[in-house]
Symmetry: C2
């Protein structure tokens, strides 16, 4: 039996718990203000106003994008996750009022979507390619599930089931239904969540229909377009191809991750769920091939994906430019979610490795240390002088922004952090898997006995994790400890007795099976030397360079520590590093320093642009900080990849 994720996990550590509190105490209130257009200097959202207008309580036109509603949905889902950690009356009252507003905005037939209700009444479902109606629906479904799980209050769930029923009537294989699917995947995975909570198989079948129908000839988006044109509706010029929407071929025929990266990984996550629920091995095989293509050819060392600014998309194998990296925060979140689903089907640590790489690097970089500003785009190198001067780097910014007109990323990262507990463990009848080393407490029943496992660790700065069991009597189960791919030297001890993890390893997990007693202690000690990471030789933009990694953390150099012109810096292949935790720096980070850096000897440099000589080098001390923490000090250069000497 597949292990499934455990949602009720309480995080208690020095790294993530403060970030969860930040989400609860700062981000959620801040984002509520943003949704209500109360943040000075931020781009207006208009989200709440849209719902009030749709409910007939405000005279206003729709503001913002067609997917503006989803910002409220993600906020509400975040609130659900926050309340799962701890109920909170004031926050719940706020959320309840929002849910009431959503309910009042819903049409009698169940439809919910302020863009069409306000701007195109009567034209619902005429452009599912572009207009995100089901995308918004999906996010609300996820929110309703999270809120119900937290509070047991049925209102949001009722609203969304009513909406889901409406969609199930409109879309499907029957003559009277449209054989369509959403231009932005999301509802596929959301319907599975709704099914898992409600047990209503209609929702599961609907998701499967969307997955199977996508990319089938005649392509629905063409059919729909022809209908709009026949009805005389205006179309704007659209350069996007079907691959942008992952509808260029049925998903079972797709070999590579194509198109808009967020859409792609949301779709693949939904398809993974369907493969799981239907035990559909051919679909699972397709999804795994797409996973391999993504993580073996199209992923940054930070776990970022979708390298191209053009259409926020995957481009092609090994095309991973650093300065021009797009690597949208939402795409990193989607990759982590997809990997998490694959991990539930097959407990192979390779999925957890990618989850972890993304989480600590290209995902976490999306939010500032104070929780108040966000990166949409996560470059691996910046050169500030280019700002506004070079057209080919349009997406990158040197500073996180307080909010975006297109505000998908800020609430997305908030909900990810708030729900992080559920990524740590998974469980089946006889096994408890530890995927992430994060200080936390989880309770679970095995063979009729309640077991509480407390994990204590200073991860990611220290590779020691301690597990302590509490139970009311001996209990038989397997504790499966992930052996991270970045680690070559892992010691495991049970009550002080060494156990060789190699002897009990199954797909990257050390499986400790025994009759456990209360008070038993398991210690994992992962050596965390600094590693110099090289890329596959086809990855041109990292050729001749190394990335500095320690444990799961990918490091970078910033100008604040190292001066400018970071491209001139070389790091010796045999470099050694000093390192220490600096509690005052960047909210507490483990910094790395090396005296084995080299720079061109400036005293030998003339005005000549080209010379037929080698410039002599001088030794340089270099300082590296975690990539996720960059751009929290003064503006300046940053580089992940350093030239290897």
């Amino acid at each position: 039996m597949n292990p499934v994720s455990i949602p009720q996990v309480s995080i208690q550590d020095e790294f993530w718990a403060p970030r969860q509190r930040l989400v609860r105490d700062v981000v959620v209130p801040y984002q509520w203000e943003a949704l209500n257009d109360l943040v000075p200097g931020a781009e207006p959202s208009g989200t709440i106003a849209n719902f009030k207008a749709a409910a007939g309580e405000l005279e206003a036109a729709h503001h913002g994008f067609v997917f503006q509603d989803s910002d409220l949905a993600k906020w509400l889902e975040t609130v659900g996750f926050v309340l799962q950690q701890q109920r909170n009356e004031a926050l719940e009252a706020l959320a309840d009022s929002a849910i009431e507003l959503i309910g009042r905005a819903q049409m009698p037939n169940g439809y919910l979507g302020t863009f069409y209700q306000l701007q195109k009444p009567g034209l619902q479902w005429t452009n599912v390619r572009d207009d995100h109606e089901m995308y918004n629906a999906g996010h609300f479904m996820e929110a309703a599930v999270a809120y119900y799980e937290a509070t047991g209050k049925p209102k949001a769930l009722e609203i969304l089931c009513k909406f889901a029923d409406h969609i199930a009537e409109a879309f499907g294989p029957e003559e009277t239904q449209k054989p369509g699917y959403c231009g932005h995947p999301e509802i596929e995975l959301a319907l599975v969540k709704l099914y898992r909570l409600t047990g209503n198989t209609k929702y599961l079948a609907m998701s499967k229909f969307f997955i199977d129908e996508r990319g089938r000839e005649p392509l629905y988006f063409d059919v729909e377009l022809a209908e709009r044109q026949a009805a005389g509706m205006k179309e704007r010029v659209d350069r996007r191809q079907m691959a942008y929407f992952q509808s260029h071929a049925p998903i079972r025929k797709q070999q590579s991750a194509e198109g808009h990266a967020v859409r792609a990984v949301y779709l693949f996550a939904g398809a993974t769920d369907i493969a799981d629920e239907y035990e559909d091995s051919s679909l699972l095989e397709s999804v795994r091939a797409l996973w391999n293509n993504t993580v073996q050819r199209r992923m940054y060392v930070t776990g970022g994906i979708g390298s191209s600014d053009a259409f926020e998309a995957f481009s092609f194998d090994y095309d991973l430019p650093n300065e021009r990296a797009y690597a949208e925060t939402c795409a990193a979140i989607g990759l982590m979610n997809w990997g998490h689903r694959l991990l539930q089907i097959e407990a192979d640590s390779k999925y957890a490795d990618i989850m972890e790489r993304t989480l600590y690097n290209g995902l976490l970089s999306g939010i500032s240390l104070d929780g108040r500003s966000y990166f949409y785009v996560n470059p691996l190198e910046v050169w500030p002088v280019i700002s506004g001067k070079r057209d080919d780097i349009p997406g990158a910014t040197l500073r996180r922004q307080p909010w975006f007109g297109c505000a998908c990323c800020p609430p997305n990262i908030a909900r990810l952090i708030a729900s992080l507990g559920r990524y740590i463990y998974s469980v089946n009848e006889e096994e408890l898997y530890v995927h992430l080393y994060i200080g936390s407490r989880v309770a679970r029943e095995f063979g009729g006995r309640q077991v509480t496992v407390t994990q204590r660790t200073e991860y990611p700065w220290n590779g020691v994790a301690d597990f302590q069991l509490q139970t009311d009597g001996p209990v038989d189960f397997t504790l499966a400890l992930r052996l991270p791919g970045w680690c070559n030297d892992i010691k495991v001890k049970v009550n002080g007795q060494p156990v060789d993890p190699a002897l009990i390893e199954v797909k990257g997990y050390a499986k400790l099976r025994r009759a456990w007693n209360s008070g038993d202690r398991i210690q994992v000690e992962m050596a965390m030397p600094v590693e110099l990471v090289r890329s596959h030789p086809e990855l041109r933009e990292a050729a001749g360079k190394v990335a500095v990694q320690r444990g799961p953390i990918v490091y970078c150099m910033e100008e604040a520590d190292n001066g400018g012109n970071l491209r001139d810096v070389r790091l010796s292949s045999e470099a050694t590093f000093g390192g220490r935790f600096e509690p005052e720096l960047l909210n507490g980070v483990y910094v790395l320093e090396s005296d084995h850096g080299w720079r061109t000897d400036a005293s030998t440099v003339t005005d000549d642009l080209y010379v037929a000589k080698r410039y002599p080098l001088t030794q340089a001390s270099l300082r590296f900080i975690p990539y996720y923490a960059w751009a929290n000090r003064s503006e300046g250069e940053m580089a992940v990849w350093v030239r290897e000497k």
Copy 2:
């Protein structure tokens, strides 16, 4: 006294003479067909049709860009240069017919410009920022001068003087005149040519007016725009800034080369002429500062300039990306022309070095070996898989094109090659300067005696150049031989006797002053070892890389010789090279080979995108061809900069 260029130089060698014949026998007829829309598969030009329509001989709307007329002008100028080498009745008849047509198209008041005549009659000179009327005029002036110098026929010159007189009435400092100047500089240098031929100082003064007025407050382009708006004329949205037109500041205040690269160097060339004619040392100082900025911070190793596709422009210091290089062929031509003018003012070989670098590399790359196709954009690296997949490399193509809708480059490179003779030497009353080593013959009078100098050389493949003098008696003058910057080992012999060039060097020229006799022979022997060139450490895109250069030729690797993934290739710092002239390859090139290349050992590479190990290397034989000759075989990767091991 400044030495001046000698136009009547006959080229007789194996490298350039065939190219001049190609221009005469293939390019000129081909381009005439293009101008007449007779080339199958090429973008239509419409140029001749425009003139016929303006002359009232064809019922047709204006076709093409506002600067379409200039294509005919450049063609005619090329014909002038071709005829300077050797008169040719058939070609002359064709040119005369074109000149007659131009004359018939000219308005009674002297105005000539088919765009306004056909499309906006009566609105002439209302938008000199955008509409290239004086740019076209300038190219016709250059053509008229070249054609007159070749044939002595006055017709074209009369047409253009009439046009120049018309412009001189319309523009100037008087109340009744417009204080304007052209958005695309060109007329400034053309008027100086017209003045030098006719002796009419009005033309020189007009050029000076344009140079001085540019960038003065209130900015004329703003004034003119306001007038158009006041007249209710429609404007398209325009993101270009004043720097695009080099009108952001008076040229004397400009510190760096900004904006559209072709415009910039055409302007600076004109300003150099004015500084020369007026002995204006402050203007000359400004122009030299701009030159230094250009060649010390904004020029590719190939001599290409204008690195940014956005607005075909200079971007900023040391921003010289390779794949995304714009480096327009016309900008290289403009740089060479500018350097040539500076060289006439100050015989310093540093100007000739840049001229030569540009000529043999980033300029010559603009034309295919068969003369029938052209590069507008000259990248220093290509990766074919990006074609059409990445938005940030919009300009680059893997194949030269037969013609362009915007066809500035093809006729420009043709006229440069046809007129190459005049770049080789310059002269004053007592000195003959040799700037370029190109087999050629030049005749000149010193102290009343006719001297003919015959230069024989296999340059650029061989660094030996022989000069033989013919004179009807002893003659006293200085032969000043350029000591190229790329060369560290030069031997000079006079009639077999070694002369130490270091002892007679002045600003990079070895000055041989004596009483020469007929039959005297001077030999220059420039050692041509292969050099590994490194860039200034601020030039980020070449950091850690070397360019292979031999003599004036910059080399590149092509996939056809070296397989793919050229970024994986390393070249040892201490690499030695074998080399030989291969007469059958690429119309005859000197190829370089080295066994000191290295590649990742493919047998050690797995599917992993990132690994914490060093891949072992295997030795690789590498083959380099001259950069200018790339893309004349199968499509594939190309790289100038190679990683240094």
